[in-house]
Every structure is written in C-alpha cells, then in structure tokens.
C-alpha cells in the first residue's frame, strides 16, 4: 500500500483534472505477436467506454494489460496511469492494493472465472474478509446483500451452492457481484455477455448499467458486438490490428463513422445491425498479428485504399470535436453519405 493508495485516498491525489485512467502508447507483445501496437486511451471518472473490435484486434489484451494480468512471455510497454499512479512495471505486490478497490474485472467465461471447488458464498466472503478485514458473520450478511444486489433470487440459500449449480447468467451475475464487492473505481468487463443467450444478455447489460449509475464507477466494456456497445457505453473506441482506428461519442460514431472500417462494420443501416454475423462481410482476411504494416493495417481490405494507404501509416487525428480517426481520408468518409 506504499506507492498506491487505496480507495478514497486515490481521489485526492488525482483531483487535478487527470482522467481516472490514462493510457499512453500501450504496447503488448508475445514474442513475434504484436497484440497491442500502441494505443492512447482515457477514461474519466464515472464514464463508460466501450472497446469494440474483432477477435484478435487486441481489445481483450488491453483490458488484461490494464489490470497487470499479462504473464510472461508477454511484454507490456508504455504507460498506464490509474488515478495518478503508473501501473506498468509495478510488481505484483504493488499492484495488489489497486486490484479490487481501484480496478476490477469481469471475465468472459463465468464458469472458468469462478473456482469450482469453493461455494460462491465462500468466494464472495473471502473477498470481504481478506480485503476489507470483515468479521465472518458480517461478511456473510454483506455477501448476501451483494448477491441480492446483482439479482440472485434466494440469495441466502444459494450462498452454499457451487458455481456449476448455477446457470450461465446467474454465474455471470455472481462474477459481477465479486467484482463490485470492493466498490471499484473502474470496472473492466471483458465480453461478459458473449457466452450468454440473447435474453440473458439483456439482463446482464441492464444490471451493469444500473450498477454503474448507482455506484458512479467508470466502465471499460470490451466487446465485439455493436449493439451491446451501444447499450452500455457513452464513448466508443474501435480497435483494429492492435491499434485504435476511431473513437468518439458513441451516437455520433454510429451516425457518421469517420473510418472505412467502422463504416464497413456499421454497413449502410446501423439500426439493423445486431451482430457481427449480420454484417456485410468485409472482404479479405483479418489482420495477421505478426505482420508489421508499413502503411495502414486496414488498407488490404479497404474499399477506398490508394497507393498512399499502403505506403504511409495514417496517424490518429482529431477530425471533429471529440472525434479521432486513423485514416488519410477520414474527412471524406465522415461527410460521405
């Protein structure tokens, strides 16, 4: 608890208008595989941001890198500042106080994310007794309250049940309960609804929205699903081949995409798009993670690509108020009808 203060202390130190989470030039490499190739990202306190991308775009790795969960041989470079403190290069012991009350995470596969040999009650109580030094009895009551808060019926009775005895949706709710148990300032949700049925999905999204409103925590929502992103986030970040290709307020992005990739994703009528599978297929192959692109990574698949795109790498430029895009012809795309 030395360099990184816990809980409210962090607020004090970060009051000076710095965003809650500030990422500068984050790079993650696994040997020759460049999963994340330099991204800049800011999340303000209480804000909700969605990172959208195909599998392999580096969006999940970004989430794990923020939490410090990238294991060797993975290498993380760049800067991740959370509440004014640098996280990259910290030891496990230094990161521990931040994990939980600062940053929390919900994973994609809830069955894999919960320990199969402990009851869910034990696992929630463990957080409270270990991290908040609660008495067991008090922790138990709090655990029940948490389970009720995330919408588990019969919470007291189900405390003693094991993860495999819950349905997928209920399990994910328990994961959310565990993530919010320490009242995190930023919740990273890594495709939390991907493994669930559409009907269940809606319930989980609603829950996350409600919790965010009630607790005022910030949300970084990683997804490959446009509709899901639109439901939970105010701000959208689109990733392609380990880089951010476009970002801005989500409604504006939906209305007027400035990058050919976003545009292709949205197809002609964004309203009709519910899932990747409904999209007009983007021609060409998804990017190879080991390739080093001289120009724009999307150029091989881009309908607008010209010689310049293959030769000169486009930078992420501000093209309108609060809008960034990584394309030589962003303005043209933006104004095209």
């Amino acid at each position: 608890m030395s360099a990184l203060a816990m809980g409210d202390d962090i607020t004090v130190s970060s009051s000076a208008r710095e965003p809650l989470l500030a990422i500068r030039d984050l790079r993650v490499e696994f040997g020759p595989v460049q999963a994340v190739r330099g991204i800049d990202l800011a999340v303000k306190a209480g804000e909700s941001v969605a990172i959208l991308g195909e599998s392999g775009s580096g969006k999940s790795v970004t989430g794990k890198a923020i939490m410090g969960l990238i294991n060797p041989p993975g290498v993380v470079r760049g800067s991740v500042r959370f509440a004014g403190s640098e996280l990259v290069g910290r030891s496990e012991a230094e990161l521990r106080p931040v994990r939980g009350p600062g940053l929390a995470m919900v994973f994609q596969d809830s069955l894999d994310a919960l320990n199969p040999v402990f009851s869910v009650g034990e696992q929630i109580i463990e957080i409270l007794t270990v991290r908040l030094r609660r008495q067991r009895g008090k922790a138990r009551a709090e655990a029940i309250a948490l389970m009720e808060q995330v919408g588990i019926p019969n919470a007291e009775k189900r405390l003693c049940d094991y993860p495999h005895q819950f349905s997928g949706g209920m399990r994910q709710r328990i994961c959310i309960a565990m993530a919010i148990a320490l009242k995190p300032r930023l919740l990273i949700a890594d495709e939390p609804t991907t493994a669930l049925d559409v009907t269940v999905q809606a319930g989980i999204l609603k829950l996350i929205n409600e919790l965010q409103r009630e607790t005022g925590m910030a949300l970084l929502f990683v997804t490959h699903d446009l509709a899901v992103a639109r439901e939970v986030a105010e701000h959208l970040v689109v990733m392609y081949a380990g880089r951010i290709v476009e970002q801005g307020p989500i409604d504006e992005l939906f209305a007027r995409p400035a990058h050919p990739y976003t545009r292709a994703l949205l197809s002609s009528n964004p309203g009709s798009v519910r899932h990747w599978s409904d999209l007009q297929p983007i021609t060409g192959n998804p990017p190879d993670k080991t390739t080093v692109y001289k120009g724009c990574a999307f150029a091989p698949r881009c309908p607008r690509a010209v010689a310049q795109c293959v030769e000169v790498p486009p930078g992420l430029r501000t093209i309108a108020e609060g809008r960034d895009a990584r394309c030589h012809f962003a303005e043209e795309v933006l104004h095209a009808r």
Partner: protein
C-alpha cells in the same frame, strides 16, 4: 518400486497423459541440450562396456586373490583392475561391475520389452473388443496391482529358483498392468475415430484394424512409458537380487554385488557403494533422457529440466 497399488482403473493415470515423444528429428535437438546429451552418451558408453567389456572381464571377475581381500579403492599399486578395490574374496570390483552391467541391462531390457509387447497386445485387444473380455482382463490387471509387487516376486522367485529368465518373467508380469492400461485407454478413444469406421466399412478384419490403424498410434505413448520404466525396472531387479531371490552366482548383477558387499559394510564400504553408484548413474541417465523426451513433447506439462525445443508461444489471452 511399484507405480500403483490401486484397484481403480478409472482414475486418471499419469501414463495416459504422456504425449508422443518418439517423433523424428529429435537427434538434432539432443545436441542443444547438454544434460540430455550427456545422459545419452553415458548410457551409450555403459551399454558398450556391457556388451564388449563383459566377455573379457568375465574370467577376471571370478579370479580370487586372497592376498587382495578388502583391497581399498583409488590405488593403482595393483594395476587398473583394482582401482575400485577388491571384495571379500579379493575379486576386482571393476571387473565385477562390468560383468554385472551386462546382466543388469539384459534383465531390465528384456523385462521391459516383454511387458511392453504382451501388455500392449492385451491392452489393444481388450480396448478394441470391450465387453466381458475387457472386463475380465481389467480385473486380472487389478489383481496384479493389488499384491505388493515385491512380495509377489519374493514368493514366486522363492519357489522358482533364481535365474535370469525367472527374474525377467516376474518383473515383466509385475509391470504388465501399466502398458495394459495405457494402450487400452488410447484404444478406447481411437476405435471411435473416423478412420477406424472407414476401415470397417471396406471390410477390414478386427485384427487388421488393430494392427494397421490403431497400433501405430498407440505405440509412441507406450514407448514413452517403456523408456520411463527402464530405470524403475532396473531398481526393482536390483532390489530382488538384494533380497536374495533375484540372481545368484554365477549370475551376477549390480544388486547381487550390493547384497554381498553389505555383509562387510563396515570393513569395505566400496563393495556396497560402487555397485549402487553404478545403478544410480544408469537410472539417472535413463530418467534424465526420458524426462527430456517428455519435455520436448509437451513443453508446459513436462519438466523442462533440459531445455525443451523452442516453440512459437501463442499469445496467451
């Protein structure tokens, strides 16, 4: 000395998880791993000594020289022959070790070979046919596993007179269940595969399916297990000889020499320590080598004591 005493064939056994390790191209990789290379060379030299040296050492090993009783080691005053000292009858330790090497290798190799062939054959048939044949064979395997192997060997060898053939038979029977289980488990899985169905569809006989389709896929795993077993069987054989039921003169293996030396433990430590060292060195070399083989087959699961061949690491997401 025995790997399992369990009556439960259903539990995961270690052997089944071993991956194929006998693919091609390992020799080149061996060069890059000093410890594995050293082990392979050690084994090679030991086998060479046992095959070429033993016939020459045979007569010398039995030459008694009572003036050299308990002659201590590390002295060249009586020539290289006595550099490792002499035993209670003044016989050269070095020559005896060379002769013992041959017997030890023959016994371990033959027992493992026999157990591999018979065990795998039974496992293949048992797994492929299933039904009551399978059930009966598995119960027999359970029976073998239930009796402490050393006790079984003790009882049988006590009846049968010590000899190389009997020792090999007893050791082989004791180790059968491992090969049986490993090959059966793999067969159970393989027989459901498409290529087996295809062979059946074109009218191949059961025997032909087992021999042509299944056996080639089961063998790599079985051979990996056999490699691991070599050292273990060697120790077991030595243990039986030590207990006085394995081999007796004129047949000599390293276990016999330890057993004889034990009587003079306080007077002549070398008569006990050196033959044991020979066993340890051989077993360790065999273990290191098979450990390396395993590691190169499955980098995460196995111990990479000796640098495993590098693989492109996938991004762990």
């Amino acid at each position: 000395m025995t790997i399992t005493q369990t009556l439960a064939p259903a539990r995961p056994t270690l052997g089944i998880r071993l991956k194929s390790t006998f693919s091609t191209g390992r020799l080149g990789l061996l060069m890059h791993s000093p410890l594995a290379l050293a082990s392979a060379l050690t084994l090679f030299v030991l086998v060479l000594v046992a095959t070429i040296g033993a016939p020459f050492a045979q007569d010398v090993a039995n030459m008694q020289n009572l003036r050299l009783r308990f002659f201590p080691p590390f002295s060249l005053s009586h020539g290289w022959l006595y550099v490792l000292g002499a035993d209670a009858l003044g016989r050269s330790m070095l020559a005896q070790l060379v002769v013992g090497a041959r017997t030890s290798f023959i016994v371990a190799g033959a027992a493992v070979g026999l157990a591999t062939i018979v065990g795998t054959a039974i496992g293949l048939v048992s797994g492929f046919l299933g039904g009551w044949v399978d059930a009966a064979l598995m119960r027999i395997s359970d029976i073998i596993v239930t009796v402490p192997s050393l006790l079984l060997a003790l009882a049988v060898l006590f009846v049968l007179e010590p000899s190389v053939i009997n020792l090999v038979m007893v050791l082989a029977i004791g180790r059968l269940p491992i090969y049986l289980r490993v090959s059966r488990a793999q067969t159970l899985e393989l027989r459901e595969r498409v290529f087996v169905e295809a062979s059946r569809a074109i009218g191949a006989s059961d025997f032909s399916i087992i021999w042509r389709d299944i056996r080639p896929l089961v063998m790599p795993t079985v051979l990996t297990v056999a490699m691991l077993e070599l050292a273990m069987v060697m120790l077991a054989a030595a243990g039986l000889s030590f207990l006085g039921v394995g081999l007796q003169r004129p047949d000599v293996d390293w276990g016999t020499i330890v057993s004889e030396g034990r009587e003079y433990l306080t007077r002549a430590w070398w008569a006990t320590v050196f033959p044991g060292m020979a066993i340890v060195i051989t077993a360790l070399a065999a273990n290191l080598l098979s450990n390396w083989l395993r590691a190169s087959g499955d980098p995460l699961q196995a111990t990479a004591l000796v640098a495993a061949p590098s693989r492109d690491e996938d991004a762990r997401k």
